[in-house]
Subunit: 405 residues, 2 copies
């Protein structure tokens, strides 16, 4: 029976992501969870969703329980279109499709564009889930480093020039402009413009992944305006977003905004992948936008995450050894830690786990062999008390590792 | 800008499925919808789901709104395991993973096993959604015809023999044993055994897709026992099922049961595709099983679908021209109509649509060029009155087409 199931080349090349395996270790009760990128689990809009469902008409119930169109629940698509326009995105010749989480949005875009061996420009470091999607389609990566104000434009142009010369331009550039996962870094507005100019010059589209954009706690919305909303971006940029951080990740609900032609292709791909996104959670999300509950929740969570991030900054100042540095996010969930040479993040993980603290090691976010000097810590789903306690314990774990195992 | 988005070979090969394009035409209000395979839209367990959510503890709410494990919500997995055992399936060394609908189950299995050019044995005709998944991975098909008691064993063995000789055995055999979509045909218990023996002999696994198995309205559960529950099937059969017909398709919730090793591979594939299935709908489904609501709903729907099918049989007897024949389902949603030579199903579709009746033409369910003599009509989501009226109008449409356009 050994050979009954003969795996595809894709499957043979895919391994369980390190983050998930580590997270299994790190899911024991009582742990301080700096690991997963989960929203605050105590403050979801429980009451608002209960109100929404209580008010459902017979027609809405029927829509929620039945199959829906592959591109999405029409009233939700309409609300999202208005929301995109409110974000300053020109929706002429643009369409929206809802997806089973933004993860599916990433996968479907890649499925529509990637042949095995095709190249994608990604940030270094970048989101593990996107790398997993791209790897499962056997893409190659070109890694563009992040500066403190986002992706290096010079490095990106150097890559594009080389690939153009080799006649193998990338299928797209994947970027997370706001409070990037894992680095917490934000792409400056000036560099957004420069990146778009590069994309236009080389005719290479941008896949703009913006799950955290609304969760800024310094500056104003203008500082985080999407690349998609810039002049000239309309036909160059696919914009991904999700309800995971503005409602609930358990709903598995994201959306893609892009030129109608490519969204049509994504709709076809989605037919073969899961037929349609949950009608049930789409009807909830549609009412959630319609009733304006989203604004109250997002306003509240900006404050919540701001205080958590502030506490983490204080704790890092207090407890980190001098040789450690970290990013200073102005929104989102994550802080990226640069470790001194004598502390590897895998060794640190083991030492931290003994103290009941979990985080994510740097390696899965980067090119192979380049990430062990880094760690991602998330403040989003920890209490203020645990943040201080956890960072203190992390400091102790570092001392143990530095002292030489 | 024309070439900004350069499609993958997969995407270039994928077209909008005919059924969905036709269904767009056929979604005008007031239409008699024999087309889509939708459950009865007026009789979903609305009150039961409302009761379930009303009773949620804080812990359940938090689980419902948060990210979950890729393989599924643990209490739901436990209920499903018990359910599989109650179906007579030996769960030793077997695992379950929940999926975003059974459509995703099909896709993930194929993604784990199929390289471009690999072969799958499928029934002729078979489920359009499965064909779309397989095509999107560039699989080739060998078509095994259906007899009135299910897939032809002789034809399947002939195909296997030939492929073995050519050293290109199929990656799996895809079958829908109960009230098959689109034919309504059920695979006899004797032939299930024979099919499994063939699978063992050639060491080719079976992908058993069983969305309708509980919805029998003649005979007893023993007549519809899954291939997966037969002795010797444990390591040869992957079993797919869904909540779409026993709860709601809007929840997008299916599950796969199979050898733990291959389910582990599917879990890895799912990480890259949508990270996890909706926690929200999984918590609902878990309680729906736990509270036993499923039994009341399934019992009720067996009667509902039975009366609808009976009405359709009466109407077909009454209104179909003599040269037309059709399958006699003992469960499920579908009747498969064999048209006379002078009536093509595309021409019939146009004539029927003028009369406000929709169905699905035969072609998308079969090998190219082989399906136009057939039509699928679904009785599941029409009133008894509309079933009679719709079949009558379909008879008139046939007369118009036969009379020569």
């Amino acid at each position: 029976m050994e050979n009954t199931f003969r795996l595809s080349d894709n499957a043979l090349g895919m391994q369980a992501s390190e983050i998930r395996e580590l997270m299994k270790l790190a899911s024991k009760p009582g742990i301080i969870a700096f690991g997963g990128g989960s929203p605050d689990g105590l403050r979801f809009p429980f009451a608002e969703v209960a109100d929404i469902e209580k008010d459902w008409s017979e027609a809405k119930k029927r829509a929620a329980f039945q199959y829906g169109a592959t591109n999405g629940y029409p009233p939700l698509l309409e609300h999202l279109r208005k929301r995109m326009e409110a974000y300053g995105i020109d929706m002429t010749d643009q369409s929206i499709i809802t997806t089973t989480g933004a993860q599916q949005g990433i996968y479907l875009m890649a499925k529509a564009l990637i042949n095995p061996g095709d190249t994608i420009i990604v940030e270094s470091p970048t989101f593990i889930g996107a790398l997993a999607s791209f790897k499962s389609l056997r893409a190659n990566f070109e890694w563009a480093p992040l500066d403190s104000d986002g992706i290096s434009i010079d490095a990106t142009e150097t890559i594009l020039k080389r690939l153009a010369k080799e006649n193998r331009l990338p299928k797209f550039i994947y970027t997370i402009p706001n409070f990037q996962n894992p680095s917490g870094i934000t792409l400056s507005q000036a560099k957004r413009k420069a990146l778009l100019e590069l994309a236009i010059k080389y005719n290479v589209p941008i896949l703009e992944d913006d799950p955290y954009g609304e969760l800024y706690f310094e500056g104003t919305a203008a500082d985080y305006k999407s690349i998609k909303s810039l002049p000239g971006a309309k036909d160059m940029v696919i914009y991904l977003n999700t309800f995971s951080k503005i409602l609930s990740p358990g709903m598995r609900l994201g959306w893609i905004t892009g030129p109608s032609k490519i969204i049509g292709q994504i709709e076809i791909a989605k037919q073969s992948v899961d037929a349609c996104t949950s009608s049930y959670t789409q009807v909830i999300a549609s009412d959630y936008l319609e009733k304006g509950y989203v604004n109250g929740y997002v306003d509240k969570m900006r404050e919540v995450y701001h205080s958590k991030c502030s506490m983490m900054m204080l704790a890092l100042e207090k407890y980190m050894p001098k040789e450690v540095s970290w990013s200073k996010p102005t929104g989102g969930f994550f802080v990226w830690i640069t470790l001194p040479k004598n502390i590897g993040s895998k060794a640190l993980f083991t030492a931290a786990l003994k103290r009941n603290v979990a985080f994510v090691t740097g390696s899965p976010f980067t090119e192979e062999g380049k990430g062990d000097g880094y760690a991602r810590i998330a403040f989003s789903n920890c209490s203020l008390e645990d943040i201080e306690k956890g960072v203190k314990l992390l400091g102790e774990a570092m001392q143990e590792v530095a002292a030489g195992k």
